[in-house]
């Protein structure tokens, strides 16, 4: 197996890694203990592995070759809490009871951040469309959509 030496910045920590050419970013994240990012399908269909690039853009870690992520700044669910404070989106998911089994939650939260980065004021309809790639089998999406709206409202006016 061919390997590549890469550098990843994961949650603001620098990792110099040797990865197999066919290893996905998801596999690498999980292998270095960043297990908050989940494997749900491995084929880009469920969104459980969603992480952020440059704190903004969501990507699917299961479809991203680690070697191609060389040099990237990746934020995962485990990097959101700052000085003991949850990210407003995390707090909104708790407050609005949007978490059941929690397996989709890391992906949902990361996706929500990227939705709000792109459009700080999405309508409920837009939120539902944006979430289409993130599956949840527990909640029927009702409380998740509610949490995203709540996060939107909480974050409005905040400097980001």
């Amino acid at each position: 197996m061919k390997t590549r030496d890469i550098t990843l910045h994961i949650n603001e920590e620098k990792y110099n890694l040797t990865v197999d050419a066919n290893q996905t970013l998801l596999q690498v994240l999980r292998s270095i203990g960043s297990t908050g990012t989940k494997y749900g399908c491995g084929t880009g269909e469920c969104g459980a592995c969603t992480v952020l690039v440059n704190g903004k853009t969501s990507i699917l870690a299961c479809l991203t070759l680690a070697a191609l992520a060389d040099g990237m700044h990746i934020t995962t669910i485990m990097g959101l809490e700052k000085d003991g404070e949850l990210h407003p989106v995390q707090q909104a998911f708790i407050d609005r009871h949007a978490i059941q089994c929690g397996f989709c939650t890391p992906g949902m939260v990361m996706k929500t951040i990227s939705i709000l980065e792109e459009n700080p004021n999405p309508t409920e309809d837009q939120i539902r469309h944006e979430l289409e790639g993130n599956m949840c089998r527990c909640t029927g999406y009702e409380k998740i959509v509610d949490a995203v709206q709540h996060a939107r409202d909480m974050m409005k006016g905040e400097t980001r």
Binding site: C101, L131, M135, C138, K143
Partner: protein, 789 residues
């Protein structure tokens, strides 16, 4: 009842933070030092075949391979079935229906695509996978049976000698005096009926699609203990089943339940535990991790029971339900497991309406599909989908108001809905119907929809349903809980309660806090530890609150009884007079004479004699409350569902616009959690009736084993959900609560079917009701010929 302080409040879930930070440990998140990795080699190209030759010589030479387990290696172990009927039903009953455990860990007779052939143990997952590719298998293909008819043919290959004719299960009608499960005289009933309806339905093979694929760790340690990490929703029965399978004493098996990434029945009983444990036993000392890929989940973990349902019902002209006669024939899949679901369908069908005569019969026939097991609703969604549509047809034909019919003919409190001699104590059916009609705007919508034209047609439909709060009296019900009071007046609850995400750990903590008079923060529930936790059945049959909730409540009450006894002795009063507020114990008569709970508990543990009188202030000893609770009641929750759909008659496309769901839950322990669990059930129930089905090619290979091809309701498909909880009196459940875990799934299907019927005047026998089927039926009927012109 005195005012509730914590029960009934939508407190945030106790595990919300650990989940939202990504720090919750699901099985695959646990990394054991020096762990090895397992990979199950599965037959992916045949659904029915005999293995003629299994050659592992090439695989053995692959890098990193430690050991390969073949069928001969596991012959020393018993065979098994993945279900729990062997534990939850009495031996006599199991003998009647012929409970078997015919599944070997590794097989030489492939019975479905994905059947397990052998197991690789290697240093890394990638090495295990690579070695799996190198196992050479020669097969003798066998004829593939995808329907019960094919498998029942006299010449069909037999799945197991124990079940002649491939009949895995028959409803044990012979047990009953009538000679069938039910009551009355069926022929006479039909002779006396004015209206007879008869249909042959198909109910689909639905997959749980829990977001977390199955994942396990096992280690046989140096104290000869088999340690297993699993997200099973039944950790204690899993411990018992592993004991039976491997012949190890229970004291040598430790089950660590991990956080569960969705269950819905898929983690009921055994799944991957036998494989990972066999691997661990083969390499003592080393931890083995076994991860299922999503692809494996499709082929090697169970599904809902699919099959045909012949349903015939007779009514009087005025709608009087005279006779019900159903025969359900389920496609069992490759193995026996959960054979009895078909009977549970009948038991739940019987619970709903006051038919004068009732018969339910059925069977489950082996087929070459992935085995059918437990899935939220356990037979109820299948029967309700059919029965409620047939009732609606009768109402439409006769002009009887469907709401009135349901109100008039549902079973009532005091009846014995399931026929096991245990009457129910209450019934909120009328309340849920009234609330639903109002909240949904049933009559208003009917009026608005009365005059429609154009290609898009709206329709409304409803259903009424009932689902158990536990398995009793059909199945075992039992939970043991202990409450340890700490010296600082906090409490640890030990109870093997499973939380599939619905919030049971939170609700149980609320119950304990309420019963102890403590705050939520003062109480911690220790679950998932089979050494510390005594017996509990696990999560199924909507039972956790009903049985485990009461077990925990009684354990807390037992602890408080001991507290009051000590305090009463000190205060020299009758314990019955004592009350506690803010952990201060006193009598109403002498409120200034106070025992401080913390002092009482502290001095029970750190107990020293007073230097003055050489006496102990309080009786010595730590207080541990306990309960081993087995209910003698099962009061069901009634629910009604109302939906509005819009059918595009040009494309067959269907949109579910609104869904009002009302449940007579009694007292919700945590209303927000209940709502969420019902909303999730609705998502699954809509999928069951409209989009979800596992399709197979003629060779028995799955065609749609991906989230793209297996269509579930997504965020844009979901209708507006209006959840209404009706709080009727409940005398038996803890703080007046009833079970609710499964009801959400059972309801939307029939309501949608009836709404489609209302919109376009067509009923469908084959679920899911896809746009193709709808369009075909519209075209076939020549409906709406050219309205759009």
């Amino acid at each position: 009842m005195s005012e509730l302080k914590i029960v009934g409040k939508s407190v945030p879930k106790v595990d919300a933070k650990i989940k939202v930070t990504g720090r919750a440990m699901y099985a695959d998140d646990i990394h054991m030092p020096n762990a090895l990795h397992g990979k199950i080699v599965r037959c992916m190209q045949y659904a029915h075949a005999r293995v003629i030759k299994l050659d592992i010589s090439r695989a053995q030479k692959m890098p990193g391979v430690v050991k390969i387990l073949v069928p001969e290696d596991i012959e020393k172990y018993n065979t098994y079935n993945t279900g729990v009927m062997d534990l939850f039903a009495p031996d006599e009953l199991n003998a009647v229906w012929g409970e078997i455990g015919e599944e070997p860990i590794f097989t030489k007779h492939v019975k479905h695509q994905g059947d397990a052939l052998c197991g690789i143990i290697a240093k890394t997952e990638a090495e295990a996978e690579a070695a799996a590719e190198m196992v050479d298998v020669e097969y003798e293909p066998l004829p593939v049976y995808l329907t019960t008819e094919e498998a029942s043919h006299p010449d069909a290959v037999q799945f197991t000698p124990e079940k002649p004719g491939n009949v895995a299960y028959r409803v044990p009608g012979g047990l009953f005096p009538e000679g069938f499960y039910g009551y009355g005289d069926i022929d006479k009933g039909f002779a006396e009926s004015d209206l007879i309806y008869e249909e042959d339905y198909y109910v689909p093979k639905q997959k749980h699609c829990q977001m977390e694929p199955h994942s396990y760790i096992a280690q046989f340690d140096d104290q000869d203990r088999l340690n297993v990490w699993t997200s099973s929703q039944m950790p204690k029965p899993v411990q018992t089943k592993l004991h039976k399978l491997f012949g190890l004493p229970m004291s040598r098996i430790k089950v660590n339940q991990t956080v569960i990434g969705g269950g819905f029945g898929t983690r009921l009983g055994l799944i991957g535990e036998p494989y990972v444990c066999a691997m661990a036993l083969a390499v003592p000392g080393r931890a083995i991790k076994l991860n299922y890929t999503r692809e494996e989940d499709w082929v090697a973990s169970e599904t809902r029971h699919s099959g045909r349902f012949k349903l015939k019902m007779g009514f009087k002209k005025d709608g009087t339900p005279v006779v019900y006669d159903g025969y359900m024939s389920f496609e069992k899949g490759g193995y026996y497991t959960h054979g009895g679901v078909v009977w549970v369908s009948g038991i739940l069908a019987r619970g709903a309406y006051k038919f004068e005569n009732f018969r339910f019969d059925g069977d489950a026939i082996f087929t070459n599909k992935v085995p059918c097991g437990a899935f939220r609703g356990y037979g109820n969604p299948q029967q309700a989908l059919c029965m409620e549509q047939l009732i609606q047809r009768m109402c439409t034909d006769t002009g009887i108001d469907t709401i009135e019919w349901h109100k008039k003919w549902h079973r009532e409190a005091g009846g014995d809905p399931w026929g096991f001699g245990v009457p129910t104590m209450n019934c909120g059916a009328d309340e849920v119907l009234d609330r639903g009609v109002e909240s949904f705007g049933w009559h208003e919508k009917k009026e608005i929809n009365a005059n429609q034209s154009g290609p898009k047609r709206r329709g409304t439909g409803m259903m009424l349903g009932v689902h158990c709060s536990a398995g009793f009296p059909v199945l075992l019900e039992h939970t043991v809980a202990t409450v340890t009071l700490n010296e600082d007046a906090t409490a640890i609850i030990n109870c093997s309660i499973s939380d599939l995400g619905c919030g049971n750990h939170t609700a149980i903590t609320q119950i304990a806090a309420e019963a102890l008079g403590f705050s939520m923060d003062d109480v911690f529930l220790n679950w998932g530890d089979s050494d510390a936790n005594a017996f509990d059945i696990g999560a199924h049959a909507s039972r956790t609150i009903w049985t485990a909730g009461r077990a925990v409540k009684e354990a807390c009450e037992d602890a408080m009884k001991q507290v009051y006894a000590k305090a009463a002795k000190f205060l020299k009063v009758d314990p019955a007079e004592l009350v506690m507020e803010d952990k201060k114990i006193f009598t109403k008569e002498a409120p200034d004479q106070i025992v401080d709970l913390k002092e009482l508990l502290w001095k029970g543990i750190y107990a020293f004699m007073s230097p003055e009188d050489f006496q102990f202030k309080f009786d010595r000893g730590q207080i541990i409350g306990k309960a081993s609770f087995m209910p003698f009641a099962n009061n069901p929750g009634w629910y009604a569902c109302f939906v509005e759909v819009e059918v595009d008659t040009e494309t067959g496309e269907l949109k579910v616009l609104e869904c009002t769901y009302v449940n007579d839950i009694g007292q919700a322990i945590n209303p927000a959690a209940v709502e969420g669990q019902l909303e999730g059930g609705i998502q699954q129930g809509l999928g069951f009736s409209l989009t979800e089905e596992m399709y197979y090619d003629e060779n028995g290979l799955i065609l749609n084993n991906s989230f793209t091809d297996y269509k579930m309701f997504g965020p844009t498909d979901m209708p507006k959900c209006d959840i209404q909880l009706v709080t009727t009196e409940e005398q038996y459940g803890p703080y007046g609560a009833r079970g609710v875990g499964e009801a959400g799934l059972c309801a939307p299907g029939p309501a949608v079917g009836n709404a489609i019927f209302d919109a376009i005047g067509i009923q469908f026998n084959e679920a899911p009701f896809t746009p193709e089927k709808i369009l075909k039926a519209i075209k076939g009927k020549g409906l709406f010929p050219d309205k759009r012109a």
